[in-house]
């Protein structure tokens, strides 16, 4: 069995997960990445998608991460500073930190809510697309910029809802 190392997945609102793990799998802009114990120090970005953390007992925690960063820290004592509330976890020397502005544990995803927001967002999206092409000429530049902004907003929210549904779905036993 692989050796354990410290992992924390934190958002600005709270630490989603902190403790020992044996593997972390995620995707950076350069491709898929699996971090095992003894990985070289690394700092990378995390593209929106699934992050899986394999724990010592073999269970895998699935998380939906909507973009963020990862740091693999191998300095001595790195794992001591693991997210508060968990305390130091032995003499683990490697710490993996996943920072995400928005992220959630797969088991905590509210499927119903995500489905609902997906529907409203899709509706709004087609509305915006429609008005964008129609008002192209007459709408002022300001209005156009506002629509662009909202379009961006709606698209990101929709991406999030889709990712949530995908990951919550993967979690369910088939």
């Amino acid at each position: 069995m692989a050796d354990a190392f410290g992992v924390e997945v934190v958002t600005p609102e709270r630490a989603l997960l902190a403790g020992p793990a044996t593997a972390v799998m995620l995707r950076t802009s350069d491709g898929n990445l699996t971090v095992l114990d003894g990985h070289t120090p690394l700092i990378g970005d995390v593209v929106p998608g699934e992050v899986r953390v394999e724990q010592e007992d073999g269970t895998v925690v699935h998380l939906a991460v909507h973009g963020g960063f990862i740091q693999v820290d191998t300095r001595p004592g790195a794992a001591e500073g693991l997210a508060e509330g968990t305390g130091p976890i032995g003499d683990l020397s490697t710490k993996v930190t996943v920072l995400a502005g928005v992220a959630e544990l797969a088991e905590e995803i509210d499927v119903e809510r995500a489905t609902r927001s997906k529907e409203t967002l899709e509706g709004r999206l087609s509305e915006l697309r429609g008005s964008g092409s129609r008002g192209g000429g007459e709408a002022g530049a300001d209005e156009g910029a506002e629509i662009d902004l909202e379009l961006l907003d709606v698209t990101t929210s929709l991406d999030r809802a889709n990712l949530r549904l995908e990951i919550a779905g993967a979690q369910q036993p088939v």
């Binding site: 070289t40 690394l42 990378g44 820290d73 300095r75 004592g77 500073g81 508060e84 920072l99």
Partner: protein
């Protein structure tokens, strides 16, 4: 006649007591909000520390790329000032001390020849600054009590946009920092360019102890390369800083409000005591006068009966 004064006083006492009930309730509510706000600050700490660590490492790895985003500009021609206060008052000097500091900063920058663009969070900023003739370009309201990360995102995007577009040299943040339950104070911080963590160690107060340690033995891999990573990192770091400033400002606000309302409650008690004393004296006077009148009246009647 004399009863009139007594009635007026009784009415005032009742009114002060009603006010006291309100201030007492506000005090208790604020007190409960403090601990919630404190919890949110500590829940935010791992993220903030992690963000700081990454910025430090990335900046150390490629100083040339970092130079564009980090450090203090020598020449400031135009600057964004972001002031964070609350939507509500009744919190002692909380709002006004931040706003006064903002005013001073803006005047100082203007006197130095820089153009200042003002942004604010909190309803109280608008009125104060507009009244004094400062133009607030964009003002955010509605979340100063319980800021969410998405709020911080929105504020950070607006405040950082002029810097990203190259219109300003610096973005400054004026807010109340919450150091501990008993220690909060107004501080001005540089939001952009990001304060260079490797330059002045003393600049940043509470850094993780890891930072004091020398660089990683060997090297850190970057995915993607440092320059691109820093470009992605900077806006996220600003969001994180704005969010923690909002959280701390909220905690400081509730603390200030609790303190102000406790003082108000105490003052109401004092007022009730003084007013009751005056009222009792007035009542006594009225009774004495009445007795005197009765006695006087009886006295006046006696010889009439005797005669």
């Amino acid at each position: 006649m004399a009863g009139g004064q007594e009635r007026v006083l009784r009415r005032r006492i009742r009114s002060v007591q009603a006010t006291k009930k309100i201030t007492k309730a506000m005090e208790l509510i604020a007190a409960s909000q403090i601990s919630r706000a404190q919890n949110r600050i500590s829940a935010n700490r791992p993220y903030r520390a992690g963000m700081a660590r990454i910025v430090v490492e990335a900046a150390r790895a490629d100083r040339a790329a970092a130079a564009k985003l980090l450090g203090t500009p020598e020449q400031v021609n135009s600057v964004v000032v972001l002031a964070i206060v609350a939507d509500r008052g009744l919190s002692g000097a909380y709002n006004s001390s931040v706003l006064r500091a903002t005013e001073r900063l803006v005047d100082q920058l203007t006197a130095g020849g820089a153009t200042v663009r003002l942004f604010s969070v909190g309803k109280k900023a608008q009125g104060y600054l507009r009244f004094r003739g400062y133009e607030v370009e964009r003002s955010f309201i509605g979340f100063s009590d319980r800021p969410e990360f998405s709020d911080a995102r929105a504020v950070a995007a607006v405040a950082a946009a002029p810097f990203v577009a190259g219109e300003v040299d610096q973005v400054l943040l004026v807010s109340t920092r919450y150091y501990s339950a008993g220690n909060q104070s107004v501080a001005t911080e540089q939001l952009l360019p990001l304060p260079d963590p490797n330059a002045g160690k003393s600049e940043e107060g509470d850094e993780s102890p890891n930072q004091e340690k020398p660089g990683l033995e060997g090297y850190t891999e970057f995915e993607p390369e440092v320059e691109r990573l820093l470009g992605e990192l900077a806006p996220r770091a600003v969001e994180s800083e704005v969010f923690s400033a909002l959280l701390e400002a909220a905690a400081a606000f509730h603390t200030a409000q609790q303190r102000a309302m406790a003082a108000a409650t105490e003052n109401a008690d004092e007022l009730v005591r003084t007013l009751s004393r005056i009222m009792n004296r007035a009542r006594q006077d009225a009774i004495t006068t009445e007795i005197m009148e009765i006695v006087g009246g009886a006295e006046a009647l006696r010889p009439a009966r005797g005669a």
